[in-house]
Amino acid sequence: MTPSSGSSDALYGAPRPRRSQRVWWLLATVVVLAFELTLLWLARTPRVDDHYRRYFIEHATTCYRPMGEVPVLTPGERYPIRKGEPLGNCGVLWAGFYSPQPDVPVSARLAEVTLRLRVAPEVSPAGSQAVVVALELSRFPDSAAALPVEVMIGEQTVTRWPVGGRYERFEVEVPAALIASDGSFSLTLKGPPPIAPRDAGLDANKFPVGLRLDALTLRSPLGLTPARAQP
C-alpha cells in the first residue's frame, strides 16, 4: 500500500490511505463484490440435467446414471442391498436409492424408488411363471408409525405394505405376465415422504431418508426354497 498522510494505527502501524485513495479502494471492493454476488446467484440456479441435479446436488440417488449389468438372481439366495454388493450396483439402484458407504443400508431418498431386477431363466422360463420377492425393510426414523407403502411391478400396483418397524420382511408375488421375456422386471416402492434426520431432530444430516432396504430374497410361489437359503 502506498504510504500517505493518514495517522498510524496503534497495532498495525501502517499509515491509512488518503480520502481520495479510500474512494478508489471502496469502488474496487464494490466491483469485486458485485461479481462475486453474481456468481453466488448463478450458483443457486445451476443449468444441469435431472440426473446431475438428483445425484450431485440433491443426493437423492446412489448413482449418477444407470451403469453396468442387472445381475441374474438365484432363488433362495439372500442378497444384501449394499454398495459393492451385486444388488448395490448402479444398474440396479440408480433410481432414488442412496448408500454412500459399503456398510450402510441403502436408503430411499425419494418417496418413490425403483429396483431393477432379473430372474434366472429356470425360475421363469420366458416369463411363464410367477416369482415371489421378499424384501427386508425399515422405515426412518426407527420409531415411526407404520404407513402404507405401495408396491408396483412395472406400472401396475400389486399390493400395499404397512411399513414402520425395523428389518421387517415383506413378500410380493410378481405375476408371470409382468416379467419380461429376458426375466427382467422393475419393482417400485411408493412410500411416505422421506424426512431429513435434521428435521427429525436426530442429527445434522440434511439429506432425507425414507425406507431402508436391507436385503432381498427370491423364491418360487410354491415355497420350494432351496436348502442353502438363509433367513
Binding site: M1, L11, P17, F35, L39, L42, I57, H59
Partner: protein, 399 residues
Amino acid sequence: MNDSVTAGPRSTLGERLKTLAAETPPPAEALARAQAVRIPWGHILLALLVTRAVWLAIALWGDHSYLHAMAQFDGSWFKGIMTRGYDVEARGMSDGDAANWAFFPLYPALLWLVTLGGQLDPELMGVLLSNALLAVALGLGCRYLAITRPGAPLLLFVWLAASMPYSFYFSALYSESLFWLLCLASLIDWRCQRTGRVMLWTLLLSMTRATGVFWVIAMGIELVARLRLRAFAELWRRPDWLLIGVVGPLGLFLFMALLYHRTGDALAFSHVQISWGREMGNPLTNLIEGLSYWQSAPETLRPAWQASMALVGVGLIGWLGVQRRWLEMGLAGFTLFVPLATGLDAIPRYMIGMPVFVLALHDLLTRLPRMLAWGLVMLGALANLWLVENWYDTVFWLV
C-alpha cells in the same frame, strides 16, 4: 504488539498462559526483520537433495518408477486438467460419477507453463516444479520465522519441513508446495502490512485450493481478536483490508465462473466431492467415530489413524491459540475442521499442506533440548521413509 507478561512467583494459570503469548512486531519492525534475515539457501538445497535422493534410492531399490509414483492419484487428475482442461460431464472412476472439477486451476496452469504447453514430460517437470516451489516456500518460511519468532532455529525448520512424515507430497504433482509458498508469502506481507501484495497472494491461494479461501476469514479472526469491536469501524478507515476480504476469495469465484461455463454448475467443485464419498456432516462426530475404531476395531487402522492425526491437529491449533497467534490459529482451525466435517480421508495431507501446522510443531520442538529436537526430526524422517515406501506401493490411504 507485545502480548508478553512476566509471570510472578505466585502466578495463576491465566498469567502463566500469558507468558506463552507470542510477540507480534509492528509492520515497520517486521519489514526490518524480514530484510535482515539471512536465509540458509545452501541448507535448503542440501535438505531437498538429500531427502529426495533417499526417496529416489528407495524407488530404485523397490523397482518403482519414481516419477510415475510422484504423479499418481491426484497427480493424474492434475495432468488430465493440464492436457484436456476441465471435464464437461462426470465420467471417471468405477461409478462413472467422478470429474476433475474438485482440483483447482493454478497448479495445473503452472504445470502447463513449465511443460511448454505439454511438450515436455509432465511427470519430470511436475516433480521439478513442486520441489522448486517448496525451496522458495522454505525460504519464505525462514523469513516468516524471523519476523514472528526471532531467534528460532531456521535449520531445524528447514530439515523438519523437508523430511517430516508425509513430506513426500511436496515432491509429488500435488498443489501442496504451491500452497505453502503462497500462504507464507501472504503471511509475511500481512505482518509487513503490504496489503496490495496480500491481495495478490490470497487471490492466488484461493485459486490453488479451496482451503485458500479461509485466509481472509482467519485475517478477520485476528482483527477481531486484536481490535475487538473497533475492527469493524477500522474497516471503514482501512478499505484496503476490506478489499483483501473480497479479493482473497476471488480466485475461487473465478474458478466458479469457469465451472459454470463448462458444466452449468458453479459449485461443481464442491458437488463432485460426493464421488469420493464426502458429505458435509459434524466434524466432532467424525472425529469421535474415527477414534472409537481404536477400541472397536483396531485392525481397521485407517480411520483410527486419521482421527488420531486430527486430534494432534486440534492440539496444535490449541497451542497456536495459547500463543495468541490468532491468524495462524484461524488458518489451522478452518483447514482442519472443514475437511473433517466431510470425513477423515486425507486429514494428514490437509494438515501438512497448511504451513501453520508445521510452524506450531516447530514451536514445540524449539522448546525441547536441541539434541532431542533434532533426534525427533530424524525419527520423523525415518517414519516418512516407511510412508514413502507405501506411497510407491500405491496404498490408497495415502491419497
